[in-house]
Subunit: 278 residues, 4 copies
């Protein structure tokens, strides 16, 4: 399912996440929950508050860092034992513009350099194992966005969305066999098929309006013509309401939280609401 | 084995690679064979010549592109059917400087942003599967460069260098079980252990003086203190003679050649020779 | 941990299992819950009752079959939709005899034919992947029961017993890496090491007195000298209280319940109690 | 492809295998090269000769053992260092009879006990990973031999026979993804699909008339109605010329040669020739 866009439509979306953890021994936190700054996505306001045992910590005690290759924003801090709560809020204006220009898939020799790493296999997207299979099934098709739609259709049709059917180590191979998964697995399977056919594809995490139950979501960006086009083979909600957080090769790069030390998640509350414009 | 360096020593190394392919149907080539530009490695002269059926093609028919995140240089061209030959030559001056500064391993919250992606698991380095194992065996050690040396020792001691014992899909897990591999596999296993212990580690391909038989080589760069330190658990030759080509998460990112289409390698000749200085 | 046996001691053990299922569409059931008839284990009394929607079905509606190679007993029936309950009870007298005879491991050419299949790799015990690793670590040891004890020690020492840490597809390779598992995984890892060293080893399910929480248990039988000796690397309870149900290559062969159709387990209650003798 | 049989036709086939090994340190050999005694396959004459450094060893120095569950015949001997040669010859009369009786697939509750183990997943046939995929694609078909033909068709159509495309650790999952393999891999893939659909299926090695290049071959026996029916998804030659050696869960059970110790195969010559009847 691709975004169907009307010319230059504007949507205002409020996103919120609250994460609560129990830390046994001192631990280091990295959080990728902040909205990604994009030309089509302007951050009107944003707030992050971090609490240790219900007391807000000083801004000097945590930092924000942006990863150069992806511009993913990452909050980092050292957490002493106790309960930790992170509250993130942002108001985002999405500007959807009709994607003009070519819908052809570029030959490898014409791809921009920044797209090349997204042709390679990655931890959960072993595209080197799908080369012949993808070629057999899709190699004869015209190389434009209809090919990507055919891949998205296949993933949607052969995969059941089943909560709890996969875990953190599940790869695209596993999903291809089990024929079930969650958003992460649908994304990995679509990515693997794209890359096996020499189409750059990357993983994007985000907030999604109207997702039920509310949670972080995952989708796929495919390089078509001269831009990254977003796809979501789960078809759970309109991508007009998708607010990207972080991009990467696959789920390994965009974990919303990673730690050293023994950390136990107590709660995770996510929301994304579209405001009716003033 | 780390580089043992004396203060500011200079070495001149001539590297050469010749690749010959048979192309059945029109194919697209990407080659990562050019020496990486680095502060410690100055490229004195460089030449790349590409031949189609023994006739050199015009420079307008191929291009060079540098991948932003890594600065890996990549030659690209479209190859019509026939025999293709690529000749690459470079004269490099390596400046080895005594690495001063800290030898401690940074906590995650102090790592520079560019190092963060190299903490994540990747296609051939499934570090998420090694977390507990690495913690059990090495979690109690002091977190400085002696920890990385302990890991390098372990990889060297438990792995036999055996030509033909692995293939393009072999992962660090496979190597950990089989206890044998080639340079690629030694590198993956060392990387997996570093990342499992929250130490950034990346894969680097390169030319290596005195490697027998001559071939492309692979080593590991580990982020220690404030710089990337090179390690080679194969211990096949002195790293003073290593001339880096490309870096990446693992072998998936630095393939010396990748193609679309049916391409058959006919020959591959590599050499790296240290010149006695004038 | 091997059974420590005194001469010809007799233990009476009452075992019980109750399984309750919800069947949506007509399904076929196979249950391996009945105690295995053995020379050292005499079944004093036994009862199996099967209920469909709380009404006991007639004995003509289910059957018992014994698998020739293993003598595993299997209850089979076709289940119409509704709730199904199976109650199994048995009173067993175990006769523990001091194992006399050789404690040497037989060379392959002297093994009895019935032991040979248990040298081969199986679904969850990929011993062909552990050959070199086992040889490196244990190849120099004397080939008698002290070698098996060394393997059992290794499995016990490097593996944490962690509920929920594995699933039905977890293999010995997974357990070797994750260093955690449940009884099934401890058994698979011990089996894999035995077979990699050319020692026949098989999986046995059973009831176990004093297991907390009560559940079906899994252990390993290793062919030593001229008999199958039982080992349990979990060391959760004395093997004097182990009442074997079924043997096989690994967990794939001894599932306590397998089905066609959509079947949902509602409850599973197990007990094994040693009677103080009269 | 099933055997197409005319009523009670008789074929005489001469089979031969010669294996030559270099043994560095004393090793133990197990060979499964002898024709399997079957009602439809009478062994008219048979000879096995074993040579150490070109000198035939005495019959007392090797033995034959039959594995109870499968009746596979196995030659065993201890081999001192040096060159070893094994010559096996047999003349076999195959009696092909029209398979009368049911062609329906039995429900699990009606299967004979001996067929039950061949419903379980095994080392190279991870049928537990294919349950949903097989159900989605074939679950709606009539459960008779036309279902098995549909499976055989699928394996034949999606898999390329490619020498050297797999190795000893390749599983059915690997073959399903790579879409290529040799006879072993075609057999594993057909077995996996049968078992995933609750149809007993086993692996059989054998000699095959007209196989090019001559080699040991692998096929599949599927339990249909009341007998094991043979299938070969490679379709390389008529199964009328197939002379079974050994059966098992998969290739792990029927290796034509297994060893302890360092053994190097120098040569392997196989032939199977149909005699024009007198």
């Amino acid at each position: 399912m691709t975004i169907t866009e009307t010319e230059c439509e504007t949507t205002c979306i409020d996103v919120h996440s609250q994460l609560i953890y129990e830390v046994a021994n001192a631990a280091e936190f990295q959080l990728q929950i902040a909205v990604r700054p994009l030309s089509q996505q302007s951050i009107e306001s944003e707030s992050v508050k971090i609490y240790h045992n219900d007391q807000q910590i000083d801004d000097s005690q945590w930092s924000e860092v942006a990863i150069p290759a992806t511009e993913n924003r990452c909050y980092r801090f050292r957490a002493e034992p106790g309960q930790w709560r992170i509250d993130y809020d942002a108001a985002v204006t999405k500007i959807s513009q009709l994607q003009a220009g070519s819908h052809c898939l570029s030959p490898i020799t014409s791809l921009p350099a920044e797209a090349l790493p997204f042709l390679n296999p990655s931890r959960y997207c072993e595209s080197d194992r799908f080369l012949q299979l993808a070629e057999n099934q899709f190699g004869g098709l015209k190389r434009d966005d209809s090919l990507v739609e055919a891949l998205e259709n296949m993933v949607f049709n052969r995969t059941s969305y089943t909560m709890g059917s996969s875990n953190a180590q599940t790869t695209a191979t596993d999903t291809y066999l089990s024929t079930e998964g969650v958003c992460r697995d649908f994304a990995h399977l679509l990515i693997v098929l794209c890359r096996a056919l020499r189409i750059p594809a990357r993983y994007t995490s985000g907030y999604l309006v109207e997702l039920q139950p509310p949670d972080f979501h995952a989708a796929v960006e495919v390089f078509i013509g001269d831009h990254w086009q977003i796809y979501d083979a789960t078809r759970l909600a309109s991508l007009g309401g998708f607010v990207p957080i972080a991009i990467g090769l696959d789920a390994a790069d965009v974990a919303f939280a990673s730690f050293s030390g023994k950390v136990n998640m107590l709660n995770c509350t996510i929301s994304a609401v579209a405001r009716t414009s003033a």
